[in-house]
Amino acid sequence: MTPPNDRTNGGAGLNDDIGEAKRLELYRLQVVIRESEQRAFDLFLQNLVKGTSHLSLGQEAVAAGFAGAMKKGDLSFCTYRGHAHTLARGVSVEKVLGELMQKDNGLMRGKGGSMHLTSEEHGVMGSYAIIGAHLPIACGAAWRAQYRGDKDVSVCFFGDGTTNIGAFHEALNFAAVWKLPVVFVCENNLYMEYTPIKDVIPIPQPAADRASAYGLERILIDGNDADVVYRTAQKAFARARAGEGPSLIECLTYRHSGHSRADPAKYRPEGELEEWKKRDPVKIYRERLKQFGVKEDAIAEIDASVRKEVDDATEACKAAPPPPLDIISTDVYADGGWAWRN
């Protein structure tokens, strides 16, 4: 496990600039993701999740830390591995699980599927399943903010493997030249699908070691510590809102599960998962809360309420009907329909 070269320390020095309310929020978000993803996996084993799914178990701190620092109006652009970021922006567990189960209560009523979670009202401007495609799209949303003088930031999440596709390069250069208020977040979980990222790059860090190619600062952080992530996000957002341009942040993390539902992740070297589980972000954060004097009770209460939310959501999804077939032909075009002819 590469020791992350932190820019910002975690909670070690008992630096309480974050404050208890925000810390409880960051904790809650991580637990919501953890429980929902774990549930998604269980439902998959019961054959109730259809299509594919890509879990963020082990990567909760990145989603929580960024979402925790985002304001209303800030926009998230996610990948197929987007459940975590979608939940972190406040979308209900039911709507997410409903989409995974391809039910009518799903976020897009089953039309999009797990890889395309979108909730415009929460600023989740889509989840994209073609590697790299959303980086330029996030630039465009940021361009609109710049053009209009809106102060919102576009935040674009992607994986380590995504740094090798052309669109990554085009977006980074474009954002830097136009000084766009966009923050690029690389979640380096060490793997692409089944191949380690280190096998396909000639440098140690896929994103951080490329920042200079775009005139950007090298930022490599511990992605398993939500406080570190949160502080880094705040700085990048402030920079963006101040008109100083984009940031590229590489978060070191690890996925506890396979790449997608079908992957048992046998390619991992022995002991690697166990090593990383010692640095489980939820565990780290629970310790952090205690360090800052939060009572076990308060923590247990959050755990219990999240568990209940996920249980209730599960039941609601199980009970929900499948989508009606008449929506197949809606929303191809803006008139609501699908007519390509008169």
């Binding site: 926009l75 330029p136 799209i137 929303d331 007519a339």
Partner: protein
């Protein structure tokens, strides 16, 4: 009323919309200060300023991606892809992003943008700078696709495209930039999805697009003069939405269908129209529907070769005559 060039119509069409709506922004390679590599956007930078008319790096994916992100969040971007052949380097946006985000999000996201691009042959540029690729877009569900043949249509369809809430791919024909036509004064706004009968006739229907429209008209004149064959020429104008009513109506009257396409033979819009007519108006047809196309080859550069591979008025007239006489 004034006679202006197709090239100037592009500028005027964009200017009309930018003047109307401050959310209309324009980006592309060399489009701002230089006024575009075909000089079709000269003056927009001066008129609308550096924030609305922007030069980009050579990054077609960034151009289209940025247009999409801006469109999604409230702007109405017009993006230029310098030559339509280059759609291949940013095809993911055309094929997978623009046209699917509304559907996949169950209507939450929108993508009101225009991609304008110089399409077609005639400049002796060779295989990578001369293609007619409107089919690359027509076959993708969720896009709208237009290709004007006159200065007036350039302005009117540009306005319609910019005002349309869906992604529109707007094909300008390189070999028409210098052509001229009468254009009314004042605002011009057309509608997408309407074909135009540009020459009425009773013996056969000829559907054509862009540069092929004047050629089909010329062929029709010759057929009339030389052989007394009276062709109806339909300027298809909009491939999606497709004005099947006008086309089917025309074939119902004439009994014969010809399509004149600049693109290579396989899976062109001609095949689509032929298939629709063959299926829905089979019993209206008095003989086989015939496609006239560029052969299924990459385009040669040399003038002498380029000139013979595109459908010419001669070839169109000859094909129609032979087929009607068969």
């Amino acid at each position: 009323m004034a006679e202006i060039s197709y090239r100037d119509a592009v500028t005027r069409g964009i200017a009309q919309e930018m003047a109307r709506d401050p959310d209309v922004v324009f980006l592309g390679e060399d489009v701002a200060k230089p006024g575009g590599c075909f000089k079709a956007t000269v003056g927009l930078y001066e008129q609308f300023g550096a924030l609305r008319v922007r030069d980009t790096p050579i990054s077609e994916q960034a151009i289209l991606g940025a247009a999409m992100g801006a469109a999604m969040t409230g702007l109405k971007p017009i993006a230029e892809i310098m030559f339509s052949d280059f759609i291949a380097v940013c095809f993911d946006y055309i094929a997978n992003e623009f046209p699917k985000s509304r559907y996949m999000s169950n209507g939450q996201l929108k993508c009101p943008l225009v991609v304008r691009t110089a399409n077609g042959a005639g400049s002796r540029f060779g295989a990578q700078h001369s293609q007619s690729v409107e089919n690359w877009c027509m076959m993708i569900p969720g896009l709208k696709v237009v290709a004007p043949s006159t200065p007036r249509d350039v302005i009117g369809l540009m306005a319609a495209a910019v005002r349309d809430p869906d992604p529109v791919i707007f094909f300008e024909h390189k070999s028409l930039y210098n052509s001229k036509g009468e254009v009314p004064d004042g605002e011009i706004v057309d509608t997408l999805g309407s074909a135009k009968i540009v020459r009425p006739g009773k013996d056969a229907t000829i559907c054509a697009l862009a540069l092929m429209v004047p050629r089909a008209l010329e062929a029709a004149e010759r057929l009339k003069i030389d052989h007394g064959i009276d062709c109806e020429v339909v300027d298809v104008r909009s491939l999606v939405p497709l004005d099947t009513q006008t086309i089917l109506g025309s074939v119902a009257r004439t009994g014969r269908l010809f399509t004149v396409e600049e693109n290579p033979r396989l899976c062109g819009w001609g095949a689509e129209i032929v298939s629709i007519v063959a299926d829905e108006a089979f019993y209206d047809l008095d003989g086989p529907p015939v496609r006239i196309t560029t052969p299924h080859i990459p385009l040669p550069a040399a003038d002498i070769m380029e000139d013979v591979v595109l459908p010419t008025p001669d070839r169109i007239a000859e094909t129609v005559k032979r087929s009607l006489e068969a």
